[in-house]
């Protein structure tokens, strides 16, 4: 076996040093009655070439966006990943290292985390950031838990227009902690219904809003944060599933949000059939000590040179155990590195231009659809995704696939009242002619 260096001779020598007759002797502390008789019921090992072939076959049985134009977003946006990102991720100094608990030999990872934290705090207009969470959905749930600790509150308020999976995971997380989740409806523009929010806000410890929301509609965060309430304002948390929008919109911090969570997968990671993604959390400074997950901080070494360490670790499970701010241990380290490299490559100009291209493509697609009689579902402003009304939306994708197109996302599964709702996304990878083609097909169907 090519990953196992021990030769027969090595085994013999090591057994000698241990004072054991056989390898089986080493397992004598396991009672015979629980030992497995016979081999594991899985096939024998394969040679590398055979494994490769199997995976090539598996890959061939999937259709991917690079072959077919793809109009699916809904929490996973198809952006180009520069080759330089994977070149860095493929460096084994990064991917075969552990969590940087020994900072003197992990400064590479730690400095990258510090850079990531700086960029994410900057993009979201917040003071502090952690080093990543699992994904946007679990980050949303962590935000709710954090707010309930800070405010000793039991009521979680969430916009119904927030990503359905984010809401689903949130419910799983809070289910047994005595917390209640209430939803705030959306208006005809697809945005949070502010008067409904004002009514529901009393006693809530947090209000979680998607930005842009699941319908692609851009919320007016400032208007939400300015709603006059009779009671203490809930912590306002903005959840961002498409972080590229942060380059186009005023950052949530200055708009009055206290907390920003979401999924930064758009920054340099593939859609990858759903994972691994990149949950993140940034916050105003006052919330720092209740944040979940690892955090990197700047310090100096014994010679006074700048260096980085994991810090504020008393929040974490390995110290505070059941009183920790979260049970998270492993995070999405390498995905964080991808985002850091990606953002460094794009830079402020590149990311802005990329966001502009996404915006322009989506608006072109929207216009082309309207010209073909396909109407938008909501009136609010949109970034690179928007909902339209398409009759028989459940069956549209099959039709489109026959014409070589990966279609959008039918909304009825998550919003039964939006029977004809159909979510479409355009990114820098969407070609004009494909927009025209889609518009004419859907126009015919509508």
């Amino acid at each position: 076996m090519h990953y196992l260096p021990a030769s027969g001779e090595d085994v013999k020598n090591m057994l000698g040093a241990v004072g054991a007759k056989s390898v089986d002797d080493l397992f004598s502390s396991i009672p015979e009655e629980v030992k497995l008789r016979g081999p594991l019921p899985i096939p024998s090992g394969l040679a590398e070439a055979e494994v490769k072939e199997r995976f090539a076959l598996r890959a061939a049985r999937n259709t991917v966006a690079s072959c077919f134009p793809c109009f699916l977003g809904a929490g996973a946006y198809d952006h180009y990943v520069p080759a330089a990102v994977d070149a860095i991720l493929s460096r084994s100094e990064f991917y075969t290292s552990y969590t940087p608990y020994q900072p003197e030999m992990a400064q590479g990872t730690l400095q990258a985390i510090f850079e990531f934290q700086t960029m994410m705090a900057g993009l979201t207009g917040m003071d502090v950031s952690n080093a990543s969470l699992y994904d946007g959905a679990s980050a949303t749930a962590e935000a709710a838990l954090m707010a309930s600790r800070l405010r000793k509150g039991r009521k979680i308020l969430v916009a119904r227009s927030l990503h359905p999976s984010y809401r689903a995971v949130l419910r799983t997380y809070v289910k047994h902690l005595g917390l209640a989740v209430e939803e705030v409806p959306f208006g005809s523009d697809g945005r949070v219904d502010l008067s409904a929010y004002a009514k529901a806000a009393e006693g809530a410890c947090i209000f979680l809003v998607g930005q842009p929301n699941f319908f692609g509609v851009v919320e007016d965060v400032k208007a939400i944060s300015s709603v006059a309430l009779n009671s203490e304002k809930p912590i306002l948390a903005v959840a961002v599933a498409e972080t590229l929008a942060l380059a186009a919109l005023e950052p949530p911090g200055p708009q009055g949000a206290d907390l920003c969570v979401g999924d930064a997968r758009s920054f340099g990671l593939p859609v990858g059939f759903g994972g691994p993604y990149l949950g993140f959390m940034t916050a105003k400074k006052e919330l720092m000590r209740q944040m979940p997950g690892r955090i990197c901080g700047e310090t100096v070494d014994a010679d006074g040179r700048r260096g980085f360490v994991l810090t504020l670790t008393t929040r974490e499970q390995h110290i505070r155990r059941e009183k920790a701010t979260s049970n998270i241990c492993s995070n999405e380290g390498l995905c964080m590195l991808a985002a850091t490299v990606y953002l460094a490559l794009m830079g402020r100009k590149g990311l802005s231009e990329l966001a502009r291209q996404n915006l322009s493509k989506a608006h072109y697609l929207k216009g082309a659809l309207e010209a073909n009689g396909v109407k938008p579902l909501f009136g609010g402003p949109v970034f690179n995704e928007f909902a339209v009304s398409v009759k028989g939306s459940a069956k549209v994708n099959g039709k489109l696939f026959k014409k070589g197109i990966i279609g959008g996302y039918p909304l009825f599964k998550d919003y039964p009242k939006l029977k004809n709702g159909y979510l479409l996304c355009a990114t820098e990878r969407t070609a004009k002619e494909d927009c025209d083609k889609l518009a004419s097909i859907l126009g015919g169907a509508a």
């Binding site: 000590r289 670790t313 008393t314 110290i319 505070r320 009183k323």
Partner: protein
């Protein structure tokens, strides 16, 4: 180890200094030594009620969190704001600049049940340290 007389001590290594209706609370020199470099203090705020023997906050070093118990009952009158930027005062001057809260006592006699300096010195010695 410094154990000033005139203060009262708890088994969990907090001290209280009674002056009229006010009790000033901190952690002992022994405690700060055991905790190591203190990096953060979480204390109750003015107006909060505190109960003798109950947890009122935490003291953190880099890799440990210790509960901070209140030696006496009453209402917090003042919190040492300087500790937010200078938690090291707890290490440097546990009985002076490192005080944590001042409490308006609900029962000035309550502290008499706590150890005096002599008893506390004996307690520390006997608990095997």
């Amino acid at each position: 180890m410094n154990i000033p007389s005139g203060l009262r001590y708890t088994k969990t290594h907090e001290w209280v200094k009674i002056e009229g209706q006010t009790g000033t609370v901190g952690v002992s020199d022994f405690a700060q030594h055991e905790l190591g470099d203190i990096v953060f203090v979480e204390a109750p705020q003015p107006g909060d009620g505190v109960t003798a023997g109950a947890q009122m906050g935490t003291v953190e070093s880099v890799k440990a969190v210790s509960e901070l118990n209140c030696p006496i009952s009453g209402t917090v009158a003042e919190t040492n704001e300087a500790l937010a930027d200078h938690p090291e005062y707890l290490n440097q001057d546990p009985y002076g600049a490192g005080w944590i809260v001042k409490v308006t006592l609900s029962d000035a006699k309550e502290a008499e049940g706590l150890m005096d300096a002599q008893a506390y010195a004996k307690y520390v010695a006997e608990s095997g340290h």
